[in-house]
Each structure stands twice: as C-alpha cells, then as structure tokens.
Amino acid sequence: MTALHAGLGVALGAGSLTALAGLLVPRRARTTVVGAGLAITGAAALLAGIAAMTGRSASFAVPDLLPLFGLLFTVDPLAGVFLAITGGVTVAVGIYGIGYCRGPGDGQGHDHGGLDARGVQAVLPLFVLAMLAVPVAASVGTLLLCWELMALTSLLLVIAEHRRRPTVASAGRWYAVMTQLGLVAILIGLSVFAGHAVDGSFAALRAAAPTLTPAVAALVFVATGIGFGSKAGIVPLHAWLPRAHPEAPSNVSALMSAAMVNLGVYGIVRVGFDLLGDTGAAWWWLLVLGLGALSAIYGILQAAIGTNFKRLLGNSTTENMGLILIGVGAAGFFGTAGDLDLAALALAAALLHLVNHAAFKTLLFTSAGSVVQATGRRDLDELGGLNTGMPATTAAFGVGALAASALPPGAAFVSEWLLLQALIHGLPATGVAGAIVLPLAVAAVALTAGLAVATFVKAFGIGFLAKPRTPEAASATEGPASMLVGMGVAGVACVALALAPTLVLPTIGSVAGATVGAGDPVRIHGLTIELVGTLGATVGSLSPLMLTLALLIGTVLALAGARALATRRAARAARLWDCGGGPLSARMEYTATSFAEPLQRVFDDVLRAEHDVDVSHYDESRYLVQTVEYRRRVPDRIEKRLYDPVLRLVAAWGQAGRKLATGSVHRYLGYGFYTLCGLLVLLVVTR
C-alpha cells in the first residue's frame, strides 16, 4: 500500500461519500459536510498526484463494469501533475464553498438561489471526481466516459443559479453545445486512432502510433486538438468560456478555471507527446504555438477592456491557457527539431505556469466571488473602496493580481521567465522557421504580459481601491470565516510558488523531461533556478527568493533613509486636490471603462468597439440639449465573424425545415412511405 494507492483510494472514497452526503445530509449542515469532504478528497488527490510525480505509477482495470469496453486507469507522472493541481484547487474551493454556498441569506433579500440545494451539493463532488479521473484514464472508452461525466456535471453546476439570472440559461446553452461538439471531435480523433490499433487502451495506441500514415496522425492530432482546445478555451473555440465562467457560482468558476480547463492542455500533451510519440510534424506544433499566441493576446485584450469582474477573469483564463500552449507548442517544435533538452525546458515552463495559474486563478475567482456576494455587483464600474470593508479579500485579490501580472515577486513571473528563456534559446536550434516564429512568440508573450499588468492594475485598483462607487460597495463586509480560510489556502499556495518555485520545479522538470524523452531541463542550486544548456553549462539563472529578499532590503533601506533624513513632524491629513471645486465625489473618479479607454482606442482595429451617442433636445429649441446618452459595447469580434454566420445558417435551416411540417397527417405518412421506398431502392442498388 503505497502513498499513491492510499491517496487514490481515499480520494475516491471521500469523493463518493461526499456526493452521497450532499444528497442525504439536512440543509443546515450540508455545505459544511460537503466542503469538508471536498477538502479531504482534494488533499488525498494532491498527495496521490505528488507521489505519482515522483515516479510511482499504478494501474487499475475494471474490465467487466461496462459492456464493450472496460474501465482502465493508469497513474503516471504526467497524470500526477494534473491530479495534484485538481486536488490542490479542490482543497481551497471546498473550504471556501462551506461559507459561500450557504450564501448571505437570512432574509436580507440576498437569498442565494439555493447553492446549498441538494442537487448542487451532490454534483460538486462528482465533478471533482470526474476531473480527477480524466488524467488517469488509460483507454479511449474510459477517457471519453470520464470526459463526458466531467462535461455534464460542470454543465449542471454552471446553470445552478438559473433561477436568479436569466443570462445563466444562455451561458449554459453555449457551454452545453460547445462542450458536446468538443466531445464529438475527440471521439472522432480517438476512434480513428483506435481503429488502427489492436484495442482502445493507451498502450495499444502507443504501439500503433509508428504505423500511422502522416495524414491519419495529423487527423488524429487536429481532431483531438479541436476537442481539447475548446475545453481549454483556445481562440477561436473560446466563446463558451467568458459566458460560462461569470455565470457559474464562484466556487464552480474557480474549479472550472483553475482545474477543468487544464485538462484540455492535458489532452493535447497526452495525445501529442505520449500517444502519437515521435510521429509529430513541425506544423502541428507551430499550429498549437500560433493558436496559443493568438489566444493569449486576444484573451488578455478582452480582459484589459472588460469591466465585468468575473468575465475579465474568464478572459484571463483564455490568456493563460494561450501562454501554456505557447510553451507546449514550442516544446513540440523543439522536439521535432531534435533539441530535446530545450523541449523539456519549454514543457516544464508550460507545466509550471499551469500550476501557477491554478493557484492564482483559484485565489482570484474566490475573492471575486466574495466581492460579488458581498455587494451583489459584478461590474467594476460599480465597485471600488472595498479595502476598508473587506481588507482580507482585498489583500487576497492583491496577491492574486500580483501573481497573475507576471511581475516579481509573483508566481507567474517565474514561469514566464522560463518560457521566455526556452523561446530565446531555441533560436539557434530551429532553423528559419524558428527565426521567424520565435521572435514573434516572444513579442506575443511580452504584449500579453504588458496587457496583463494593465488588466490587473485596473481590476485591483478600480475594484478595490479609491472611493466606493455604489452604496453596496461602501457597505460591503467580509464573508464567513470559511471563505477567508479558503482564500487563505490559495493565497499561501501563491506565495509559496512565488518564493520557492525551487521546491516544485525539479519535480515538474523531470516530468516534462520524461514526457519528451530528455533529462531534467533545470537544476536547482541552493535558492537558484539554473537552466541547463546543451553542453551542461548554465545558460541562465534566477532566484525568486533572493529577488524578493533584495526588494525587502531595498524597502527597509528606503524607509530608514527617509526616516533619517525627513522631518520628524507628524503627518497631517489634507483634502485631495479638487481644483478648488469642492469635495470630490465618487462620480468624478476614473472608472474601469475610462481606465481602459486608451487601450481600447489603441487596439480599435482589432476590437472594433461600437459607440452609440443619443442626444435628445428640448422641444422648444434644438440647440438646448436635454439628455446625452453614451453607450459603448465591445463585441467579441471573432465570435461575430465566426459563430454568427453558423448560427444564422442553423437557424435558417431550422426555419426551412418548418415548411416540411404543415400539420397534415397525410403528408407525414407520405414522408414515411417515400423514405421507405427510397431505402428499399438504395438497398437493391447497393446489394
């Protein structure tokens, strides 16, 4: 009985019991029991994942549970990474959910649409179990089954609040359709693959991979890539993501954004590196890299100009998945160019960013959820001044925003540094294609990082600092202790990953190295991360802890210098500069919309914002203005160009179909008759 077996067993047992408890426990204690159960499930999965990453593996087969295909599970180091991430996120979200799902209810008019209802609380553990099962599934049938279970349970959770907001239903429909189409794409890809293998187990697929023709291999890769990419929210398959994430309850958003979308990346890595092995062509990976870069820029651009708090975070998820896919694509590209060490480095950067993203996105979504629950507002333009009423949530969001904006001493800085190093060092190894692609990839990462800074300065500054813009924001208070503890767990993870990535990076590096078939790409020397070059020499090094310490020492020096030199007089409170026009009101502040206006103008060619100015005049004179109304909307342009025509076509097809159904029974009998005749004729002709 190893730690791996124990962890998996406990996770499965605790998860199932929690689902049962969600059904049976009375409402008063339900969220507490389910939250605690989720935390145990998550912790067990985290331990199992860590054990798997350090090289333990295990296989389980349940051949007779289902007809046609049995269930087959294998835990390997790559699966361990995703087990650990999902487990860690579940711990934080489970604890957070205890208070969150209970809602601020008690008759204050804020009732929470029944997040503590039996259905929601029972489905939540099932969703977590499905997410834990996907990376360990080791046959085509098992994977598809777990994938579908994950899709269905997450859909049920997305529409949990459909009684409160009508927009939830529309978001649910988008999500349902896109996730099912994604499943179909994966099904096609893996079925074609399995058709060339002895059976549907991953071992058989691996054995069959070298026998595939390049066209079939490409079909498998692209079809599964479409399915997995849509789950990861990659442009142009991202349309569901900025809809579903803001409409789902915040604990579900956190689970989806920090754990579920990762599995899209998992699928691409599993199929591309593991199952298809060395058959990959350079263009596959350049496609992944290009779509990743496009998603990163497009996602963060939407986030930079957006004002809906949770939608902004959803867009940021698209951005981060894009960055991760840049790393994955670069890894594959370097692999096809023959530089496996560099491939391992790029993949390690991608996996580290995956871990970091899970940590900070959990923190950001949970703290945003607290804000939305406390104020009932989700538009940044209506928030502000939360740092007085909600200091802990403000601090939590601040830590998350620092981590997300790729600045030192944040977590994402380390992973983006690694990613940039991988891209930069790839230039000599990859020929002309690399000389064109890599600088553009670096520029894409850089633009993304710059816009992420603007986005999170906006989200944190406008959302939490300055003066409250609405009475709700002014009177907001902290939620229950369990929500704060949940945020605290995620916050500690963020800080730990930022200061001591040296603890996780060797493990992740060896997983990445094993996945692409190379050695460890990074070496840890004390507190320093060192990149190992092709000749074993150190080609770059970074020490996040030393950097943070240096910053602290610098701050202390600055403080000491200021104390020593400045006057000793006590500080005086003073009015803000108001140009002599009386006290400033909250309406004179910059809003999120005005903050993002310069960026929106700079990127107008891409965004194409729609402006609408309505001026109404007095009846007496058209020179006197009565009201001016200004509206601005930034539609998702890819969606407008790509999805609207398809939707229109489908709608037109449906309308045309109505003409067939006139209501005449004779006609319907006629249809049946002619169809039967047609089939018989067809049968005769083809036999």
Binding site: W417, L465, A573
Partner: protein
Amino acid sequence: MTGLVVVVQLLVVVALSPLLIGMMRQVRARMEGRVGPGIGQPWRDLRKLMRKQPITPDGTSVVFRTAPLVLVATCLVVAAVAPLVSTAALLDPVSDLFAVVALLTLGTVTLALAGIDTGTAFGGLGASRETTIVALVEPTLLVAIFALSVPVGSTNLGAIVGATLADPAQVLSPVSLLAAAALVVVIIAETGRLPVDNPSTHLELTMVHEAMILEYAGPDLALVELAASMRLSLFLGLLANLFLPWGIATGGDPLLIGLAVPALVVKVAALGALLAAAEVFLAKLRLFRVPELLAGSFVMGLLAVGASYFLA
C-alpha cells in the same frame, strides 16, 4: 569584493542621479538661452521636500503610503545588481535582463495603483495612461533583449556586457545598432521623457507621470522624485554599458572600480546631455501617436533578432 561593487553602485546611483537631472535641465536651459538653476538644484529641491511636513490625503490607503518606498526599493535593487561599474554582481541570479525590466515595471505599477488609490480624476488618468504605455513598451523591450541575448546565449546582464567587452566589433554589428535604436525609444517611453511624456508639464491634457504623483507632498514626493531620477540614470547606465561597455571593471579590484566610476559618469552624462539637447527640438506627441512610435521601435527590435540569426 563584490560587496564593494554593490556599495559603490548604490552610492553612485543615489548620489549622482539628481545631478543627472540637474545637468539635463541645465543643458536645456542653456540651449533655450536661459541661465538655469545649476546642476545642484534637484538635490536642493529634495532637501526642501524632506524638511516639509508629511501629508496624508483624505481617503488614501496603505497602497498610497507604501508606493514611494517600493518604487525606491525597485530602483535600489536594480542599482545593486546591474553591471554599472563592474560585471561581477553580488546577486548574479537576479542580474537577469528580464528580472531587471520586470522590477522596474513593478515600480511603475505601484505608482499607478497609488494614483488610482487617491480616487481623483488626475490619479486615474495618469495611471491609465502610464499602464497603457507600459503595456505597449513591453513587446519592444523584450524583443530588443532577445536580440541582445542571441549572440551571447544568455540574458544575464554581466554575461552580455562581458561578451561585448571580449569582442568589441559586436558593437557595430547591425544587431547591436538596431537593438540600441529600439532600446532608446523604449527608454524614452519608460522614463517619461519627450516626446512620450513631458516631465515638466502640469497640464492635465498632457501629463502622465506627474498626474499619478499629484497628491504626493513632502518626504513622499522627495522619494518619488529621487526614484524617477534613479530610473533615468539606471536606464541610461544600462544602455551605455550594454553598447559601450569600455571602462567597466570585470572583477572587484578597488583600483579598477575607481576607474570605472568616472567612466560610467562620463558615459551617462554624455547620453543625458544628448537626450536633453534632443528634447529641445521635440514636441510632445499626442498620447495616441505614441503607439506608432513604439511600433516603429518594435519593428527595429524584430529586425535586430532577424539580423542576429541571418547575419550571424
């Protein structure tokens, strides 16, 4: 001996940065036919501000109060780790070009948050403009770094400077010239000089940096002003040593460091004087024309990377 290097670099940067600003203002004054206040004026201003009573504007939070300290701290860290007088850095793992750039961006971000924290229209306006410029500068900056690091195979600052020292002909290569041109534009944008931002304006239509710091007064303002001058001299010092590293010490030998300090001062002063002289002939660009300027420098950065591959 690297401890000596750090102390010398910190002292040189802190002590001489305000003088650099004073020198640039003096150059500008002379070229415009004014007498000018003398190069010591920024230090006199700082002394005056330090003696004033600190002021806490209504409704500002801890973000506003700590921003000047963090801003100065980022500059101090960069001053300690960058190869200014010697390539031997005490904190070699921090002396990475990406880390240095990200640190300086962190300073900008804290100031932008402080601007928003005041809750005035001015603060928000400055923060919005500054973050826009930062977001657009980033691609140019990183691509220029890419170009510089390709011939060396590392982004470590000491390694880049050392490689240029070892092979002086590199300086005149197209890679180096294009990257230098791109970096100059970036530095102008990052330090808020003409034509991107006018450091001496207080007109709301045009201010960027000044709008963010409008609510600071007394010792806090002194820290912000000191940090702004340190940023400028750090960027100019890095530019000088990345492209004209001569005079820099390669170890911790006190004699060589003693020689390296005047070399650095001369290089930075020359660059500062050039910048000031150029500013006399420039008008501030409209904010929405700045992206065009940055796009131009981005293309130069891309060409530099291309050149480093195709001409190598």
